[in-house]
């Protein structure tokens, strides 16, 4: 591993300044992804600013939303009473991710900032435009069974690995950010970006900007929710594909619906057209199947991930059925 300078920040402003003025500096919180990437030489920061002492761990309600501090641990959030009562979809998604040990280390902010698990990104001997812009995309013509079916470009077909983020985009969360130019809010759907010509940029954060919290607005999705994750073993593996489903059902009729997919794009993939196809309709399998067909419009497979085109709609239907029955 490369050598680096290590500093501990006790105030957000000091942390922000340290990272804003040094392009080779990075924040470190749980470290579960960054330490891994540093060991492999994929990321080589010259300075680490430890933000674990910042007061960003609280989970509290304010202004009709639940504010979750960026440093709240994944395990703490998943077990939090308010989260489980008001946003059970988030707890389900968190518990579907990683292992108990990792959830005890990983923070909410860090989870959002996970890098892709694309094997071409991880292997420094192979080309990857995300790791080394201009070197090419190894996955495009390579082993691409884990890769995107939506929103990719000819520069990058990687997917975002977070389960938590799939629930947060479905729940219309907002990301609170503090930076050298002050504070701002970013709608969760605009936080991660599509690869386009600059796949090295995963998110729309500006240099030095620090995630301070995630706000989830109060909503009706307290009962009929489900997070369905398909992976290659029963637990502790990244998603081949996942679906977050939330329904508000009144007398058999769907009043409101939220639907998002993971493992299919460079960002958590919200399915707004499919949601519209559900609203006002009866909560039946036939309607779920119609919505799934809408959801998959525009999907395109590569050589090894064609299975996702069939798996996708089937998992959407299964997630909606399970949510409706919950």
């Amino acid at each position: 591993m490369n050598q680096f300078q290590y500093v501990r920040a006790t105030k957000p402003q000091a942390a922000i300044e340290a990272v804003a003025k040094d392009p080779n500096a990075r924040f470190i919180a749980g470290g579960t992804n960054l330490v891994d990437l540093m060991k492999r030489g994929v990321m080589t920061p010259q300075k680490l600013v430890d933000i674990n002492r910042l007061d960003l761990r609280k989970i509290e309600r304010q202004n009709n939303a639940l504010r979750i501090g960026a440093l709240a641990l994944n395990s703490t959030v998943a077990d939090d009473r308010q989260v489980r009562e008001r946003h059970p979809l988030l707890a389900l998604a968190l518990n579907a991710g990683a292992s108990p040990q990792l959830r005890n280390m990983a923070t909410v902010g860090g989870n959002m900032l996970q890098r892709t698990r694309c094997p071409y990104f991880y292997d420094t001997a192979l080309p990857c435009n995300k790791r080394q812009p201009g070197s090419g995309c190894g996955a495009l013509e390579g082993i691409n069974r884990m890769h995107a079916i939506f929103g990719f470009s000819d520069k990058c077909i990687a997917v975002h690995p977070s389960d938590m983020s799939v629930a947060l985009v479905a729940l219309d969360a907002t990301v609170q950010v503090s930076g050298p130019k002050g504070n701002r809010s970013i709608p969760f759907a605009d936080f991660h970006r599509l690869p386009g010509d600059t796949p090295e940029k995963d998110t729309n954060l500006e240099p030095g900007e620090l995630i301070t919290a995630v706000d989830i607005p109060d909503g009706p999705f307290t009962k009929h929710v489900h997070y369905q994750k398909v992976r290659e073993r029963a637990s502790y593996a990244f998603a081949l594909l996942s679906v977050a489903a939330a329904l508000d059902i009144d007398n058999g009729t769907i009043k409101a619906a939220r639907l998002a997919m993971g493992g299919v794009a460079h960002k958590p993939w919200r399915l707004t057209a499919a949601e519209q196809a559900l609203i006002g309709k009866p909560a039946t399998e036939a309607i779920f199947r119609q919505a799934a067909t809408v959801a998959m419009q525009g999907a395109k497979a590569f050589k090894h991930n064609e299975y996702k085109l069939r798996l996708g709609p089937n998992i959407i239907v299964q997630a909606l059925k399970t949510a409706a029955a919950a």
Binding site: Q3, T32, V35, L48, D50, S99, Q101, S235, Y236
Partner: protein
């Protein structure tokens, strides 16, 4: 006389092996520091090498013992425990957070010690497998692993036991299904899973304090 010395031989061999490993890993680290320092190392001037690498002060409580240390920022918590403190019960399996062999408790919570830098744990309390027993009396989970044969080669066992203790303390040992889900971060290549689950269920049902 000769028989008195014999038991020391394997221990000395181990010590030599560790010393060698420490020196060789130090030399590997030197690939990244400037030239003059490398020649210093070749001349076995280890003190000067240590000075060339930034050392950060660190206070830890490890298995109940307060320690004041200085560590290079790249040192993972796992390497600190094994290489600096010689607590080799905690195992290095994958070193990438995928196997759970390195599981320890930090302030009572189970974590993968390979995926965080030691310097990030200033002021915290670490418990390793060495800190679980009460003197010569094994922890109930250790007893249960022995009783149920919860291992074969034993390499994953310290991590399994640390994780199993946390699993029960967290209240995630309610059923076989729940135990399997909440022990999924600990891989056993020998496949001792049924016996590991049995050991955890035994401790949970036994109602002993864990």
């Amino acid at each position: 006389m000769a028989t008195n010395h014999e038991p020391d031989v394997p221990a000395n061999h181990n010590e030599d092996r560790r010393t060698f490993l420490k020196q060789s890993s130090l030399l590997t680290a030197l690939a990244l520091v400037p030239g003059p320092v490398v020649s210093a190392a070749e001349a076995k001037l280890d003190e000067r090498v240590a000075e060339a690498i930034e050392q950060v002060p660190l206070s830890l409580k490890v298995n109940g013992k307060k320690l004041k240390l200085k560590v290079e920022p790249r040192t993972t918590l796992l390497d600190l425990l094994r290489e600096n403190l010689h607590l080799t019960g905690t195992k290095k399996g994958c070193d990438y957070g995928q196997c759970g062999a390195c599981t320890v408790h930090v302030d009572g919570q189970r974590v993968n010690s390979c995926l965080s830098f030691a310097v990030m744990h200033d002021g915290q309390e670490i418990t390793t497998i060495e800190g679980l027993a009460d003197g010569d009396k094994l922890h109930p989970m250790q007893e249960a692993f022995v009783k149920h044969d919860g291992f074969q080669c034993g390499y994953c066992t310290p991590g399994q036991i640390m994780s199993a203790v946390a699993c029960v303390r967290e209240g995630h040992a309610g059923s076989e299904e729940e135990i399997r889900e909440y022990m999924s971060g600990n891989i056993c290549r020998c496949g001792a899973y049924p016996n590991i689950v049995a050991a955890i269920q035994d401790v949970k049902q036994g109602g002993q304090k864990v």
